[in-house]
């Protein structure tokens, strides 16, 4: 079965795109801002590895606060926010429906960013919860819940109101991601971070906390961020090469595999946890890797022989995203094996995988999305195409250096750790430091890419706002008529 996106070329998108113009600029603008901030934090943390005295007199910027601050800024500020923007856009496009309640989306986005800001500042102030990916202190979470209630609600109502009833594979993934996130987020933060009923309900004790946290991290990565990324790939790759998705049943199969096994993959066995945790996770990781192979095959057949030549930079982002995601899935399955997990367990390999996934798969997908979506939604082309090539090159090289060094170094680090003849100082000197140096260089490139990206998006935001203000001032168009008039105005500009 070939799935097509039922996007008839004759369909007039201007009305739909216009309803989403300012919300998406807001979401995407904030997302790239967080990417920049997060990568700067991560660079500071990385520099501290070489110069332990660097900025040491302040408790806000120790390595231990910078690392989780960077992770949370990138996961919640950039990856999730970018994913919301992309998923909303795809929901509208695939359903041929206008965004409902854009005003509430503004409020939701503002609340989300406020929540992330409070959370990141809270981590830096030393209020981190100590649970991986959930480090944000309890007082930041109500903002995030309220924000998601609005964003997710708007997305679901928009999905429900779709004009095209038949569902394209990307829509399954979007729906599942939107639905999965609030469940795992509320469950994990209720059990681990805030429990208003602490006195009544027995809180999660001991290592069960770690199991719940691992479940959250796996669900967030594989299902929420993973599905958002896969939705982008399955929507954009067929579009870019101008062919239909090869086989929707393969997508459906992968969807089910990921949904059933994705929420418990990638947990390396730990002897502090019950032994079934590691074994079950190894099985889940293998199924996830298989699902990824199926998706990669499906997309490969789709773009093989398609119009890949003319597709340009956008497709290169998609290739990188697909490649990184597949690589991470395969490496996770490999690392979860009993024998390899003994070696890689506490090594640099683990953060290497984490960053390859966040930057390589999610980041590349979102950057590609921003590159392709924003001009369509705003009606303005990117002013500096050359800068986008630089962004792509710097980001790709940066990710390869950053995570590649950690992955390769992790193997050496792990092997040195399991041989007790190497003293810890030796492990540090030859198993950690040389690789951290290379990864710092990679991070520097990522910061440069993020800075350029942020600048370009800001220019786009300003141009769109100015264009809007000009048209409002010049023609006196306001309220109802405005949204329909604007695109034609900008289109005229583009043509002239």
């Amino acid at each position: 079965m070939e799935a097509n996106q039922s996007s008839k070329s004759t369909f007039d998108w201007t009305d739909i795109d216009a309803s989403y113009r300012f919300p998406t600029l807001f979401l995407a603008g904030k997302a790239v801002g967080w990417l920049l901030l997060g990568t700067i934090f991560s660079l500071i943390a990385s520099i501290k590895m070489h110069a332990p005295g660097f900025l040491s007199s302040c408790s806000w910027v120790t390595y231990g606060t910078m690392m989780p601050a960077a992770l949370n800024a990138i996961v919640y500020g950039f990856a999730l926010q970018g994913a919301f923007a992309a998923m909303l856009w795809m929901t509208m496009r695939l359903g041929q429906v206008r965004l409902v309640a854009p005003g509430f989306l503004f409020i939701g986005t503002a609340l989300w960013n406020l929540g992330v800001l409070i959370g990141v500042l809270g981590i830096m102030a030393g209020h981190s919860s100590g649970h991986a990916y959930l480090e944000m202190p309890g007082y930041a979470l109500p903002f995030l819940f309220a924000a998601y209630g609005l964003i997710g609600g708007i997305a679901l109502v928009t999905f429900h109101k779709r004009q095209v009833r038949e569902l394209y594979p990307s829509q399954w993934f979007i729906f599942a991601a939107l639905y999965w996130f609030p469940w795992i987020f509320s469950a994990a933060s209720y059990l681990l971070v805030i429990s208003p009923l602490r006195q009544v309900v027995q809180p999660v004790r001991g290592v069960a906390q770690s199991v719940v946290d691992a479940w959250y991290v796996s669900g967030l990565n594989v299902i929420v961020l993973g599905f958002a990324g896969l939705a982008i790939l399955q929507y954009l790759i067929p579009k870019l090469v101008k062919r239909d998705l090869h086989n929707a049943y393969l997508s459906l199969f992968a969807f089910w595999m990921l949904l059933l096994f994705g929420s418990f993959s990638g947990i390396l066995s730990s002897q502090a946890l019950p032994s079934w945790v590691g074994s079950l996770s190894a099985v889940c990781s293998a199924f996830v890797a298989f699902a990824w192979l199926v998706i990669a095959y499906n997309l490969f057949v789709t773009f093989r022989g398609g119009a890949t030549k003319s597709a340009g930079l956008g497709l290169r982002f998609m290739y990188c995203s697909l490649g990184s995601g597949l690589l991470v899935a395969l490496l996770t399955a490999w690392a979860s094996q009993e024998a390899t997990s003994q070696v890689l367990q506490f090594s640099l390999f683990v953060p290497g995988l984490k960053w390859l996934y966040l930057h390589g798969f999610v980041g590349m997908g979102l950057l590609g999305g921003i590159y392709l979506f924003l001009p369509k939604v705003t009606g303005n082309d990117w002013k500096a195409q050359g800068q986008w090539t630089i962004i792509f090159m710097a980001y790709a090289t940066g990710v390869i250096l950053f995570s590649g060094a950690l992955l390769v170094g992790g193997w050496k680090h792990g092997n040195m750790l399991i041989n007790a003849e190497n003293s810890f100082v030796e492990v540090l000197r030859s198993g950690i430091l040389p690789f951290i140096r290379i990864s710092t260089a990679g991070e520097l490139l990522i910061v440069i890419a993020a800075l350029l990206l942020w600048w370009n998006v800001m220019v786009m935001v300003c141009r769109t706002y100015c264009g809007c203000l000009l048209s409002m001032g010049g023609c006196g168009i306001l309220a109802a008529g405005g949204s329909k008039q604007l695109p034609s105005k900008t289109n005229v500009k583009k043509k002239s």
């Binding site: 040491s56 390595y63 690392m67 981190s128 001991g206 002897q271 019950p274 003994q342 640099l348 683990v350």
Partner: protein, 296 residues
């Protein structure tokens, strides 16, 4: 799958399955764990940390020490030492059994083992060997014990006497297992590095006590102040590049003291049922519980 409602139900089902299997099940398995009496130390384990150490864990969490330090010891397996604890009355029979148990012994060595019990017959053997030897001595009147010795790189490094198990973290809220070893494991640091002054110097600037360390310095946990009537008793003994200006001294803040209290409270120096090992503290007494006649 082109219906929104089918999609909703299937995702809901998968979600419920995942929740039940990966959140409820561990909770059922682990949620009701409680302290238990460990015979070897004669008290309940684990104990709640005292006030200052509890405060210290907050500082450990706030500074993000968990980013670089794990708190878990891995173990790859077990080895056994077979010890003749009591030779009994049938010396001849026992001597021949000892030589059967360890065929590489000379007759003199065998006689010495039997004469000087408790003595070691075999070192570092596997479980099948233990079963064979215990079976040999079954009705001989002699007593043979198999002492358990955990194996693994972490244990060789001296990061702990045994693997860590779920019980060790019962009172930790949050549990700070950690996932990366940029620095050494800390689950048993309280028995490895017992000197309070060492910890304070190390926190003030790691290079004062550990050449080549990449741990960040934590000067904000200390206060540099003027020496008034005389040097404070808790002032750090800093030398060379690290010494404060003339007439000043560096004293730890209450936070630094709490953090060190927490570090010193990190100890797993006792066997538990899930992770037994030969416990040497009360070796003199007759009743040595870590010796297992029927090892698991």
């Amino acid at each position: 799958m082109n219906q929104g409602s089918i999609l909703f139900l299937s995702v809901f089902g998968a979600m419920a399955l995942s929740w039940g299997g990966f959140v409820m099940l561990p909770q059922v398995q682990l949620g009701s764990q409680s302290t238990r009496v460990v015979k070897e130390i004669g008290r309940h384990y684990p104990a709640e940390r005292g006030g200052l150490a509890e405060r210290g864990r907050d500082i450990y969490r706030a500074a993000g020490c968990v980013s670089c330090h794990t708190q878990q010891v891995r173990q790859s397996g077990y080895e056994f030492d077979l010890v003749l604890t009591k030779a009994g009355d049938f010396t001849e029979l026992v001597t021949s059994l000892v030589s059967q148990a360890n065929t590489s012994l000379t007759p003199q060595e065998t006689a010495a083992i039997v004469g000087n019990a408790p003595t070691t017959i075999l070192e570092g053997v596997g479980k099948s060997e233990v079963d064979r030897v215990l079976h040999l001595f079954k009705d001989s009147g002699a007593k043979v014990a198999a002492n358990i010795r955990p194996l693994g790189p972490d244990i060789e490094r001296g990061w702990g006497p045994r693997q860590t198990v779920g019980l060790d973290y019962l009172f930790d809220q949050p549990v700070l297992l950690g996932s990366q070893r940029i620095g050494p494991d800390l689950v048993d640091v309280g028995s490895r590095l017992t000197d309070r002054k060492w910890h304070l110097l190390h926190l003030y600037h790691p290079h004062t006590v550990q050449e080549g360390s990449i741990m960040p310095a934590y000067p904000y946990l200390f206060e540099t102040k003027k020496i008034l009537s005389g040097p404070s008793s808790d002032a750090l003994a800093l030398e060379g590049d690290f010494s404060p200006p003339e007439g000043m001294e560096v004293v730890p803040t209450p936070e630094a003291n709490a953090l060190v209290d927490y570090l010193l409270s990190l100890r797993i120096q006792n066997p538990v049922f899930e992770a037994p090992y030969m416990f040497t503290q009360d070796q003199g007494s007759d009743d040595n519980n870590s010796q297992m006649e029927q090892p698991e």
